[in-house]
């Protein structure tokens, strides 16, 4: 009612008063209404501070950054009895304590995290408070482009009686981020995440979240802070999902389980390229070649339209779907969307191959106990000469080393597959063996990889640079410039090829260019970037480097913390080393402690073609990615039981294993966030030695 009167008055004013005075009055009125809106919603806007938690990864203008702490952020009261909604961004570092300061309440409250909406990136909190003011909200259909949108955040000051911080803009667009968000040009920064945008009369339009159409993790879109591009989840949608969140269940995005034939989501017809097993699409009987025609009664002609229609859906939501097959339209009703796609596991036969062998075939160096290889009767000293699925009909060609050819073929098979191997025994006899592949050890939740206590010392034929034997004269082995005979050993100082970045190498004195060496990329803790720091680290590894044939690479970061953008420099340093020294590409490990460990995880996930292992102490997975076909990645996670992060590290193990990565987790007694003890170092060295297991 008041609104209506104000509007009327204002309209009258505008038409009755002469033009010059009009402008002033209008501006005054606007200013007044903005402040009124702030005052109206302000009491429901709470300040959220967190304590503890991990050093986390956020995306900044320079790329992802590992940030030490989170500043205060904002939340909005959604029920009188203490439910508060906020952005999931505010809690990705798993804080030990969440405190909510309510305007007008003397003491802050300790909050509990009730549930997270992983699709819309909201988190529901509960505090033990009553009679809290709940703001009104704008129905979605009343939100239009160009409407004023006032962003509120309660973070610049601890003085809670102050009005919230305000930035003013307009609604820029509706139906953003696959129809999940509205867009505003009010300046939005991390202090606003979880806070509201409100209209000129003080009704909440939505809850601000960092978001980007290009990514769907909690930090996507952070780099757009203060740019005039901000996103909010409409309050009506928040309201409709509240009952489900209050039950304490995390909500996931609803997935159909198809991959399109074409990557062009705006141009190509939505023809299905792949139907993933155990998904909604598979249950509906969809097949590659089918063309999606309609979802929930709305016709679709592009993949982008499917994404817009499915974007707002949750796991368990039901849709109806029409598709075209052989020029006929078929319909499926009540198709229940899934929350997670079946993840890919890498296969495991159970052998370690001999390295640096220019001859055709693969020599078996070691057979893992209880592995498919052992069950099939494979023994150390055997030589695999042929392989295949139904028949052992594939030969080694000599185009690439036998170990590489075999790995590539094996990587394409799934666990559970039966394979045939022709094996030449030590006595010269050849037998055909049958093995059923397992999943990589350590890649099942709760079952860590156990490194064998003892491995055969003999690991290499020491002919890494010798010309490869071929099975056909016409085949030319892939040409690689072999590393030089003589290379610098000991502590080597180098620069990346662009001359911009320094890095160190530790090359053992017994370095032999005919033996492929493992490469340990040591990402130093922030600040420990001096030559002396690297030297003392290399000192710890001295013996392992000689015994296990390892080279240590130490890229140097001058920043206060590792920046994700620095991964380019690390990658350049690795490539430079690959050119100069004989390095085993299957044993390149990113290794770090604390923030250095976070960087190691980042490198592992983002440079899959280079990194095969990630070994960390006191680091936690923050941006989990999927396993990739043909790109193996194994993890060695260590944590001290005194480290407040230790729970997070243990949880990282489970997360990684749920994505079918191979994990070995070590909790060390009476340690904080420190470097490994001798015992773990020995284990880690053996772990690296088994990275080329098949």
């Amino acid at each position: 009612m008041i609104v209506r009167v104000t509007v009327l008055l204002l309209a009258l004013l505008v038409f009755l008063v002469p033009a010059s005075a009009q402008a002033q009055d209008l501006n005054d009125e606007l200013e007044k209404m903005t402040k009124e809106a702030m005052r109206k919603v302000g009491p429901s806007v709470v300040q959220i501070v967190t304590q503890g938690g991990i050093d986390m990864v956020v995306t900044s203008a320079k790329g992802a950054v590992f940030r030490k702490a989170l500043g205060p952020t904002t939340g909005v009261v959604v029920s009188t009895d203490g439910f508060v909604i906020s952005s999931a961004f505010n809690f990705i570092n798993n804080p030990t304590t969440i405190l909510v300061a309510v305007p007008g309440h003397k003491e802050p409250y300790v909050a509990r995290k009730i549930a997270t909406d992983r699709s819309r990136l909201l988190t529901l909190l509960k505090i033990e408070a009553t009679n809290l003011p709940v703001p009104g909200y704008v129905p979605k259909k009343e939100i239009v482009e160009g409407q004023w949108s006032i962003a509120l955040g309660r973070t610049l000051d601890a003085k809670r009686e102050q009005p919230p911080a305000v930035t003013v803009g307009v609604i820029s667009a509706l139906n953003r981020i696959w129809s999940k968000a509205i867009q505003t040009d009010a300046k939005i920064s991390p202090i606003n995440y979880g806070g509201p945008i409100v209209d000129i009369v003080g009704r909440v339009q939505g809850i601000l979240v960092p978001a980007s159409p290009k990514g769907d993790d909690e930090t996507a879109g952070f780099e757009w802070y203060d740019s005039g591009i901000g996103f909010a989840i409409p309050m009506e949608d928040v309201q409709s999902v509240l009952p489900r969140l209050k039950e304490g269940k995390d909500l996931k995005k609803g997935l159909l389980g198809i991959r399109m034939k074409s990557p062009d989501i705006y141009g190509a017809v939505p023809e299905i390229g792949e139907v993933l097993t155990d998904t909604a699409a598979a249950r509906a009987g969809l097949k590659p070649g089918d063309v999606v025609a309609e979802i929930d009664g709305k016709p679709v002609v592009r993949m982008a339209e499917i994404q817009h229609l499915l974007g707002p859906k949750y796991e368990g939501d039901k849709i109806s779907l029409k598709y075209k097959r052989d020029d006929k339209i078929h319909e499926v009703k009540d198709l229940e969307l899934v929350g997670q796609l079946t993840v890919l596991a890498h296969p495991f036969l159970g052998i370690l191959p001999m390295r640096d062998d220019p001859k055709l075939g693969v020599d078996v160096r070691y057979v893992f106990a209880k592995s498919p290889a052992e069950k099939a009767g494979l023994k150390a000293g055997d030589r695999i000469v042929k392989f295949g699925l139904a028949k052992s009909d594939q030969e080694f060609t000599g185009q690439v080393p036998g170990r590489q050819q075999f790995t590539t073929w094996l990587n394409g098979q799934s666990p559970g597959t039966e394979i045939k191997l022709d094996v030449k025994r030590k006595d010269g006899k050849t037998e055909t063996l049958t093995a059923t592949l397992d999943a990589m050890p350590g890649s099942t939740v709760g079952q860590d990889y156990a490194v064998p206590d003892k491995l055969p010392e003999e690991a290499s034929h020491k002919k890494a640079r010798a010309p490869l034997e071929t099975n056909n004269k016409n085949i030319k082995p892939a040409k690689v410039d072999p590393p030089a005979d003589k290379a610098e050993t000991g502590l080597v100082k180098r620069n990346t090829p662009d001359g911009e970045h320094k890095f160190y190498l530790w090359v053992p004195e017994n370095y032999d260019p005919d033996i492929a060496h493992g490469l340990v990329v040591w990402l130093h803790p922030p600040g420990k970037n001096k030559e002396a720091d690297f030297d003392s680290f290399a000192d710890l590894w001295l013996d392992f480097c000689e015994e296990n044939r390892l080279i240590i690479l130490g890229p140097v970061s001058d920043s206060e913390t590792w920046l994700a953008g620095e991964s380019n420099m690390v990658v350049a340093a690795i490539h430079d080393t690959l050119k100069r020294y004989t390095i085993d590409r299957q044993r390149v490990v990113a290794h770090g402690l604390g923030v250095g460990g976070q960087m190691a995880l980042y490198l592992g996930f983002n440079d899959r073609d280079l990194i095969r292992g990630v070994a960390t102490a006191g680091a936690v997975v923050t941006a989990l990615k999927d396993n990739q076909l043909g790109q193996r990645l194994a993890f060695y996670l260590a944590g001290g039981d005194l480290d407040p992060l230790v729970k997070g590290i243990a949880e990282s193990r489970t997360q990684l294993q749920s994505k079918r990565f191979s994990v070995l987790y070590r909790e060390v007694k009476n340690r904080g966030r420190e470097y490994l003890e001798a015992e773990q170092m020995r284990e880690l060295a053996r772990w690296i030695d088994t990275l080329d297991k098949q």
């Binding site: 010059s20 509990r112 009343e142 009005p163 300046k187």
Partner: protein, 358 residues
């Protein structure tokens, strides 16, 4: 319902269109008027990402210029371009680091320059969050000679403390400032004007500062009503920016003595858990019997959350903070015990004398 929606829509459209159409006119007059009283400064810098240009405000007809006390002033060759294209050389005559401002004076004998009556402006009450403002400066050195300053529009987001204690480390000024939602604090903008729609001076635009807690750049202006406690001739005095400007113009300003950072550190008797990582939360491991902490009822396993309203994210922060509090002082502390916050008062005492061991 329908009606209401119509009105709201009408209002939004109306306001949007009217505001832009008419505000343009009113802002033009304001911007022109303010621009006459502003100067472009050119001095030291030009390397390492430090701009060699800046912005100032004329505060007397004789060519006194108020500006940010930043690096560009460290030049023997400070040049000033006034609004109509004339240019002069100038010298810094007074600085007040605690207010983060300085006054420079044009070398030539002039007596006709348009200027702001600073004392009159500073006598007005503070502006408040939600007020529409204009930020004017020579950011990015877009203007030289008679070209006008760049004008940006925004609102005051908040009036709050520019944290010097944490988050924003290199802030010279430590008091309350206006945060604004225009991206105004760019290279060369420091010393510029924050004005309201009528052209009243509200504040002096600040430096480029990053809030390291949120990893974001901030945009702020020091209010012209700002005042700081300064140690002048053995006495603690409240000195306002208006006093500084008045005395600087009169040539009588007495530079403050450097504030000494005291390391007083009273005794509390709290033993914290080992500081194993960069951000170990401050859990209490032990409370020394009979100590102030014991008297306050603190217990092992309590987690220190706030000290005097300041959130304490780490052991390091707790120690830094407690070093600044002397014996006899009382601090309020909130600790988390189980799932509740408990508030305690801790009265610090002299550090116990260490017994010389034989």
């Amino acid at each position: 319902m329908r009606n209401r929606r119509f009105f709201v829509l009408a209002l939004a459209t109306l306001l949007a269109s009217m505001a832009t159409a008419h505000a343009q006119q009113s802002f033009t007059a304001t911007a022109n008027e303010v621009n006459k009283k502003m100067v472009k400064l050119f001095g030291a810098g030009g390397f390492k990402g430090l701009a060699s240009y800046g912005t100032g405000i004329m505060v007397s007809p004789k060519g006194h210029i108020l500006t940010c006390n930043n690096h560009i002033l460290s030049s023997s060759d400070l040049r000033v371009h006034v609004y109509d294209g004339r240019f002069y050389r100038a010298k810094v005559i007074f600085r007040e680091p605690e207010l983060d401002v300085a006054v420079a004076k044009i070398d030539d004998d002039v007596d006709f320059l348009p200027h702001i009556d600073f004392e009159k402006e500073a006598a007005r009450p503070l502006a408040e969050p939600g007020d529409w403002v204009l930020a004017m400066s020579n950011c990015f050195q877009i203007a030289t000679r008679d070209e006008p300053m760049s004008v940006q529009r925004g609102v005051i987001s908040a009036y709050a403390e520019l944290r010097g204690r944490r988050g924003i480390f290199d802030a010279a000024f430590q008091g309350d400032v206006y945060f604004i939602d225009a991206i105004a604090c760019n290279p060369g903008a420091a010393g510029g004007v924050l004005a309201n729609r009528k052209g009243d001076l509200l504040g002096i635009l600040g430096r480029e500062l990053k809030n390291t807690l949120t990893d974001t750049w901030i945009n702020y202006a020091i209010p012209i009503q700002a005042a700081v406690d300064l140690q002048r001739e053995e006495k603690l005095e409240k000195v306002s920016m208006a006093t500084f400007v008045r005395e600087a113009i009169a040539g009588t300003y007495k530079q403050s003595e450097k504030r000494k950072k005291e390391d007083r550190g009273g005794y509390h008797g709290i033993v914290l858990v080992p500081n194993v990582i960069g951000a170990t939360p401050p859990y209490i491991e032990e409370v020394v019997p009979g100590s102030p902490a014991a008297q306050a009822g603190l217990r092992p396993d309590d987690l220190i959350v706030y000290v005097d309203g300041e959130i304490i994210p780490s052991i390091k922060m707790f120690r830094e903070l407690m070093r600044q509090v002397g014996p006899g002082a009382e601090v309020r502390m909130e600790v988390q015990r189980a799932n509740r916050l408990h508030s305690v008062k801790l009265k610090l005492t002299e550090q116990p004398k260490v017994q010389a061991s034989k």
